[in-house]
């Protein structure tokens, strides 16, 4: 089991969702984050105060997948999230020791197989 953690542009989220659905990945968790990287930073002014935004809005996906699904998942994200401009984000693949489905207590592979779908 692996946890694929992808950081992408917010405006690419819908495209990535569809790409994941097409790759038959139907379980994941999304959160709003902010990232610092190579992007040119915006300056903002509030009355006499000028600030430089070191962080840009990003969206993070956490996707628990069984080993054979790692590659298709990563490829789907790479394809759907790319714009070619600096700031497209990163994907991290982390090892997972155990997965449980809370509703049933099922473990590992069974735990990430969506209801009523053979993945």
């Amino acid at each position: 089991m692996k946890l694929v953690k992808a950081i992408i542009r917010p405006e690419k989220l819908t495209d990535v969702l569809f790409a994941l659905f097409e790759a038959d990945v139907r379980g994941f968790t999304v959160s709003r984050v902010r990232g610092h990287g190579g992007e040119r930073e915006a300056e903002e002014t509030y009355r006499g105060t000028t600030v430089r935004r070191e962080l840009a809005d990003k969206v993070q996906l956490d996707i628990g997948v069984s080993d054979p699904f790692v590659e298709p998942t990563v490829q789907a994200i790479l394809r759907a999230a790319r714009t070619g401009d600096v700031g497209d984000g990163k994907i991290f693949v982390l090892p997972v020791e155990k997965v449980y489905r809370i509703r049933t207590g099922e473990e590992d592979r069974a735990a990430v197989t969506p209801v009523g779908t053979g993945s």
Binding site: T14, H36, V51, D85
Partner: protein, 428 residues
Amino acid sequence: MPTTVPSALSGADIVWVLVSAGLVLLMTPALALFYGGLVRAKNMLNTMMMSFVALGVSLVTWVTVGYSLAFGTGSAWIGDFSMAFLDGVDLEARGTVPHLLFMAYQGTFFVITAALISGAVVERIRFGPYVAFIALWGLFVYAPVCHWVWGGGWIASLGALDFAGGAVVHVNAAAAAWVLARTLGPRTDYGRLALLPHHVPFVVLGAGLLWFGWFGFNGGSALAADRLAVLAFVNTLLAPSATILVWMLLDTVRTGRVTAVGAATAAVVGLVAITPAAGLVSPVSALAIGAIAAAPSHFALVWRARTRLDDSLDVFAAHGVGGIVGALLVGVFADPAWNGSYDGLLHGNPSQLAVQALSIAAVFLYSATVSALIVFALRRITSIRVSPRQEAQGLDVALHGEEAYSDGEGAVLVLESSNPAPAVRAAA
């Protein structure tokens, strides 16, 4: 708007017009809230500013030449420069209130009308060209149209009825909005991604404040604290209430649910529809107008969303369709038993309906044409649309260098003093 004016000042009339002018002024920030709630968070401030800026630009335009072009004697087509820079606009009576007050009250209409247009082009227009557009539009479209209808121009001579601005304000702004939306093109992700209202409570609050302000808009158009003002006020209370009811019904039939955005929109549509009729029809007719107006705007709005016309906040469906329906229905329901003189179809004067239709068509065509000319002129000088990158980033940061809702995290102070500051280290 009544044209017979006795010649001495009346304290009560002054108070009512003062209050009404204040109320109409409040409509512009209220609109900023209403529109702002309907866009995405990253474009909130830009959307608010497109209304708020009219309080600067349009008001100054109005007092310099706008008022004179609209209400100066001039010809049947346009006023003149005789009152430019408020020359001769003093504290003497015009009707029963000081001339200066009349000018100011009309000025608040000018501001809100310009601001209305912005709803069609949010989330993608450059700010400078937008400001230029509304300034020019005010002079070349609003001022003449206002002259035609309220300044003694040709539409007034035809006997068209427009109590508080169905044609002058709503149809007029909607035509410009429609042209602007067409010319700019849809938002990049329009029709592909869901572009949702980021703050519906602001939409509801905005609608509430607009309703409150609209009492000044319609009620104040009587320009006196008299029966006419009462009639206009009460009709402004009743019509939207019927629109809300019918709209909720239509919502329920279509989706099985009553929505808050729908109810707020309905209130505005009802207010738009009663605007041309407020002091001219009976209260029961006002209920009817409110009820009737719901359906056309509702379906226009649903239909529009399936087209490629990204009139983003449905200025045309709400103000255009609502304004047309109201302006036509005043030709049906106008009742001399209530307004003292004017009669519509139901009171034996079918020709009024034709006059109404003509006036709407004229205003729509003129506004659309000249708006298009202004846009084309601006386009020759500069680009009027932001870059795709700015659009993705959001116009608040891209154009104004501000965020509507900031928690300050990751914002690093840029010190402009000689101080060897962290900001400098950060750059290292």
